[in-house]
Every structure is written in C-alpha cells, then in structure tokens.
Amino acid sequence: MSNKKLLIINGPGLSNLSNYSELGYDGLSLDILKQKCIAACESLGFQVDFRQSDDESDLLKDIKVDIDNFNAFIINPAGHLHSSSISHDIFNSIISKISSKNKPVIEVRIENIFKQEGIKPMQVSDSGAGFIGGLGIQSYILAIKSINQKISNK
C-alpha cells in the first residue's frame, strides 16, 4: 500500500481568500490554492484529498477514520478572519492525536498570524508537528515538500 496519502484540511473562512488581500496576499482563491497543492502532490507522487468547509463539524465528522486512512496531514485551522467563536481546541486535539500516531502533521497559515495580537498557533504536547505561516500559497507547498522528505527518509 502506498504510504503517500496526504489529507489537507482547511478550516472556516478559507472559502473566501479575498480576505487575505488586505494582508498583502493578492490574487488568492481557494481554487488556485487547491490546484497548486494538487500539482505539487502529483509531482511528488502523493494521493491528496484537499478539503475545505466553513462548517467545522462537517469538515471533521470522519476525522477518526481519516487519521487511520492517511499518512500525513496539513491543517490550516484558519477561522479567526471569519469568526471569533471558532474553537481551536478541536484542531488542537486532532493535531495532538495525529502526532501521537507518529504521522507527520504541519499547521499552515497563509499569513503571519503573529502580526495579529492574540492569535496563537496550536500548542500540542507531542513533538513532530511543524508550523509554517506567512508564505501565502507557498506555506502549503513548503509543507508538502517537507512531508515528502520526512516520509522518504523513514
């Protein structure tokens, strides 16, 4: 069985990336992001499932099965540009579960979240989780390349 099955999860707010143009990331759309991720994955031999929903419960309803079915994960919890009520605890516990199974997981952000006060990245207890923020679409591409190298070195 291929060990190159990657799940990319995009949280609430990422359906409309025009929000990010205020931050200097012009010309972004979810479709462009998806196409670039799929192209990067195909060139590295990954099967990829790219998901986005503004409804967290819908996005994560099968997450237990997903954690078993995929070998690596990229998660953009987003949310804060969309709604202040989003619960980071849910994503936090998912990232923690994935890294406890010793599978690569990277939290990505389009923007540098540290430029906004009060926004913090996931703080999980297990090591093995990476963080990339501020590179625009390239945050995802860097995550894909890094995961590829990690899996290939195993």
Binding site: I106, F114, V124, G128, S146
Partner: protein, 147 residues
C-alpha cells in the same frame, strides 16, 4: 538575490546538542546545503552563527547598510529574550523569515514567546534542519523585492 542566514547561540553545537530534538545534522552540513542551493539558484548567500547577541544585531544592521534582500534568522534562545534583535529586525525592510529547527511552541513554556515573530514576514518551525534548505529553495517563488 542577496541572502543572510543568521544563527544564534548554541547552533554551533548542532549534531551533538540534544540530537533527539535538533537532529544529527551539523552546522557545517547545513551551511553546505544552503550554499549549494543558493548558488544553483544564482543567489549570493552568507551563512553566519554567533553566540553573542550584539554581534547578531550588528549583522542585521549590516544587512540594512548592504541592502541585503533576505534575512533568514534562527535566533535560537535569543528569540525569547532579545528586544535588541526585535528592534534591529524592525529597522530592516527586506524580506525576513524566522526559522526554527524544532517547534518552540511544542516545548517549554518559556519558549512560547517570540520577540521576533511579529517583525518578520514568515515563520517556519519544526521542519528539522531540512527547513533551511527548503526555505532557500522557496525564495525564488516568493514576492521578494530584489535590490
């Protein structure tokens, strides 16, 4: 593109210092990787490391004077303490990436504060020593204004 890769305290011990956290790569091997990738892409890259805060501040000031296009900085422990490095980076208007080998947010609580993150364009952490090469590779894809 002109690039400074600036490294802070104890990075010179890589390969021997807590390899379970930082890996087995040495500073020499990381330097070589960065230099090779930069020269392939036609960049000029200077890789530096110091255990002294003031020397790091002076390198950032030098980057301002020399109009260096990109600073990749792993300030190591000074990340969590140095307002001087924060101020120097704020004065530098080129493209800035904060890099960490491990993910400081997964470690002791005293590493959860970074005085650097709010001054940079991007933060990359927890990708291991390979993070350096990945970031150098990526620079050509980023909207960086080259002097």
């Amino acid at each position: 593109m002109n690039i400074y890769v600036i490294n802070g305290p104890n990075i010179n011990l890589l390969g021997t210092r807590e390899p379970e956290i930082y890996g087995k790569d040495t500073l020499n091997s990381i330097t070589k990787t960065c230099n090779d990738k930069a020269s392939k892409a036609g960049h000029s890259l200077h890789f530096m490391q110091s255990n002294y805060e003031g020397e790091i501040v002076e390198w950032i000031q030098d980057a301002i004077i020399q109009k260096v296009d990109v600073i990749i900085i792993n300030a190591a422990a000074y990340t969590h303490t140095s307002i001087a490095i924060h101020d120097a980076l704020k004065s530098y208007s080129g493209y800035k990436v904060e890099l960490h080998i491990s993910n400081p947010h997964l470690r002791e609580s005293f590493r959860h504060v970074s005085f650097i993150s709010s001054t940079v364009d991007a933060v990359v952490a927890g990708l291991g020593a390979d993070g350096y090469g990945h970031v150098v590779d990526l620079l050509s894809e980023l909207p960086i204004k080259v002097n």
